[in-house]
């Protein structure tokens, strides 16, 4: 059966990650430990970055520009800021996951060439470490919500699942891109442009309903649209996610994970030769 190979690859990659989970955590720890080493504020930077981002959006969109969107966005003085943060924080994490994974084999070539270790875990080091900073920024966002009086809801409990699915999606797509990037370094350059297009093709700074109906179907082909709308449901509208969207996200993530794992396993030998 033609699915046998991708399924085996997916199984292999998954078991490798589980077996080497300790090493994966070591890598993530090292990533965090070395990122701000030598700076005065050190680990505080993990909090300063998201705080700065949220403050900038809230100042610009609630005082300077006073964006007026359909009525539900303007109910609250910070309405647009909340909407923007609900979409842009996950997107920033997603694009960082992708750009980090895509170049990871080239970035870590020195390590891969010199010591033996299951190099596929590097993909999950990249997505995992971004997922942690993303979680920190979400935490800052909750604090911001409490300050401006945007109540938190029980829907937030869906966030861990959603982040996990997003990691799976980014890891899968990232694996495929990382493999290609070893052979053609143009891929990481192209990704920069593709991410710009993708950002504007996702309803993050606008809502789907604002688009002409003839274009809406295009947005619905964009897998990240479903993630964005779930984040917006949970963080902005305070609604439990729709099972349909959640299932779509899960399906997309698994499919991409299968694809990425298959490519990684298929090109394993050539990959190590080329690095």
């Amino acid at each position: 059966m033609f699915l046998a190979q991708p399924l085996k690859a997916t199984y292999d990659v998954t078991t490798t990650v589980i077996k080497n989970f300790g090493m994966l955590l070591d890598f993530i720890r090292r990533d965090f430990r070395t990122r701000y080493v030598g700076s005065m504020l050190g680990g505080y930077w993990f909090f300063i970055h998201p705080i700065a981002l949220i403050l900038i959006y809230s100042v610009i969109f609630s005082s300077v520009m006073r964006v007026r969107f359909p009525q539900d966005l303007t109910e609250h003085a910070f309405g647009f800021t909340i909407f923007l943060c609900a979409g842009i924080l996950p997107w920033t994490a997603f694009s960082e996951m992708l750009s980090r994974t895509t170049s990871i084999f080239r970035d870590q070539a020195n390590l891969i060439k010199k010591v033996y270790f299951p190099s596929e875990i590097l993909i999950f080091v990249a997505t995992g470490s971004v997922a942690i900073t993303f979680s920190i920024s979400l935490f800052i966002l909750f604090v911001f919500f409490l300050i401006i009086g945007h109540p938190l809801s029980s829907a937030l409990f869906y966030l861990p699942l959603l982040i996990l699915l997003q990691m799976l999606f980014a890891s899968g797509l990232g694996m495929a891109l990382a493999v290609l990037n070893v052979f053609f370094s143009d891929i990481s350059q192209m990704l920069g442009i593709a991410l710009q297009v993708w950002f504007w093709g996702t309803p993050i700074v606008y809502r789907l309903a604002q688009l002409p109906e003839s274009v809406q179907f295009l947005v619905k082909l964009n897998p990240f649209f479903y993630f964005t709308s779930l984040y917006q449901d949970i963080l902005f509208s305070r609604l439990a996610p729709s099972w349909q969207n959640l299932a779509t996200c899960a399906g997309v993530s698994l499919a991409f994970f299968c694809l990425g794992a298959s490519m990684l396993e298929h090109f394993k030998i050539q990959l190590l030769d080329e690095i």
């Binding site: 070591d26 090292r30 430990r33 390590l111 033996y116 030769d273």
Partner: protein, 405 residues
């Protein structure tokens, strides 16, 4: 124990990057790459507790073989099996971060080098002690000297209790004291039954350390055996041209070279000019060499090399090191050369190798290289007894007496 069976490694070389995409689009129905056979059918078994040396010219496939053994590359076909962890002292300190301290680097990289977390905490003091870094162990690596860096890397690498240990020139970085310490440790490992694979261009070191040596040439393992024989063959190989083995008496003589000049006769003479096969330590002697020139040769260099019974180099020199111009020679002429010196070396059996080549080293055009062409003995000097391999002739002085009050 390390067992390598029918190992092959083929690299695909694409002339242009686009060719790889073309091949993908054809789903393998057309081929756009060249295959480069880097390793051809390697079979090798290295036993536990054996030290095996691997030599070969650059590009012979040594590094590829090492990468396959350490699994940083995967073979095209064949298998490599070992009975335990493989530690490589190739890239000491891989993964170390300059801003972290020695301790932090060990804690964060230990697992990468094959240590379990509980082992790391248990062994960190041993690692610190072996590295002899003292307070520096808790300072950032960027404050380290190269030697200190190597010491930290080495201490981590050997702490994993490997079953196979791969060693190369990485060790040459540290100071002599630490090098000796490392060599002692490697010897301890060997006695404890660890398989040692030693890769180096330092042939003297290979000779000292290894039980057997393998010669890799153009991807094939062309010789495996006693260090001396294989290393002579390697020497002949790097001097290029055909290698033939002739038997001269009981000695196996390995001769190589272009043949523009060949050694017609060689003899060891005593101070009276008589041919001898043994001398007394310190006795004056002469090595007389007759060379037949088959082609016009200008200023050939004539060299001698004395090796001991184990094949270690004892002394070697040549006419260009000694600042001598030898002149021009016509085809079919014979040149007579001689080296005169006092045989100031310790008692034992020695071999003499000769070389005639174009420049100061036999790696330039090599006319003829004859390994172990002559065997001679050095007897103890009855009037001047001493220990060891060299006869240094020190002076001895006695200072004035002092009376302790």
């Amino acid at each position: 124990m390390l067992t390598i069976r029918n190992l092959n490694k083929v690299f695909a070389s694409y002339p242009r990057r686009l060719d790889r995409i073309k091949e993908w689009l054809c789903f393998g129905s057309r081929i756009f790459h060249e295959e480069i056979h880097v390793l051809k059918d390697i079979n090798l078994e290295i036993k536990a507790g054996e030290a095996f040396g691997l030599v070969g010219m650059n590009g012979a496939g040594k590094s590829t073989l090492l990468k396959l053994i350490t699994k940083t590359m995967l073979p095209t076909s064949g298998s490599i099996e070992s009975n335990g962890k493989i530690a490589a002292l190739l890239e000491l300190g891989t993964g170390f971060h300059p801003d972290l301290t020695g301790r932090e680097n060990i804690l964060l990289n230990g697992r990468l080098h094959g240590l379990e977390p509980q082992e790391i905490t248990a062994k960190i003091d041993t690692i610190k002690a072996f590295s002899e870094l003292g307070d520096y162990f808790d300072k950032p690596l960027k404050k380290y000297s190269t030697g200190m860096y190597v010491r930290l890397g080495f201490s981590l690498a050997i702490s994993v209790n490997p079953q196979v240990l791969i060693v190369d020139e990485a060790l040459s970085v540290g100071d002599a004291y630490f090098q000796q310490k490392c060599l002692r440790k490697i010897r301890d490992f060997k006695e404890a039954g660890v398989t040692i694979l030693f890769v180096s261009h330092d042939l003297a070191c290979v000779k000292i350390l290894c039980d057997r040596v393998g010669l890799l040439n153009k991807g094939s393992l062309v010789a495996v055996g006693e260090p001396k024989g294989v290393l002579d063959r390697y020497n002949a190989l790097i001097s290029g041209h055909d290698v033939r083995q002739t038997t001269k008496g009981e000695l196996k003589v390995l001769v190589s070279g272009s043949g523009k000049a060949e050694i017609a006769a060689v003899s060891l003479l005593n101070e009276e000019g008589q041919k001898v096969q043994a001398l007394e330590a310190g006795q004056f002697c002469q090595i007389a060499i007759d060379v037949l020139f088959n082609a016009p040769v200008s200023n050939p260099t004539v060299g001698i090399l004395i090796r001991d019974r184990l094949g270690y180099d004892v002394f070697g020199t040549n006419s260009s090191h000694m600042q001598h111009q030898t002149g021009d020679f016509l085809p079919n002429s014979i040149g007579h050369f001689s080296f005169r010196f006092a045989m100031d070396i310790g008692p034992g059996e020695y071999t003499l190798s000769l070389a005639i080549h174009a420049d100061a080293s036999h790696l330039a055009e090599n006319y003829q290289w004859a390994d172990s062409i002559l065997l001679f003995k050095v007897h103890p000097n009855k009037d001047y007894p001493f220990l060891g391999v060299s006869m240094l002739k020190p002076t001895f002085e006695i200072g004035p007496h002092e009376v302790k009050i």
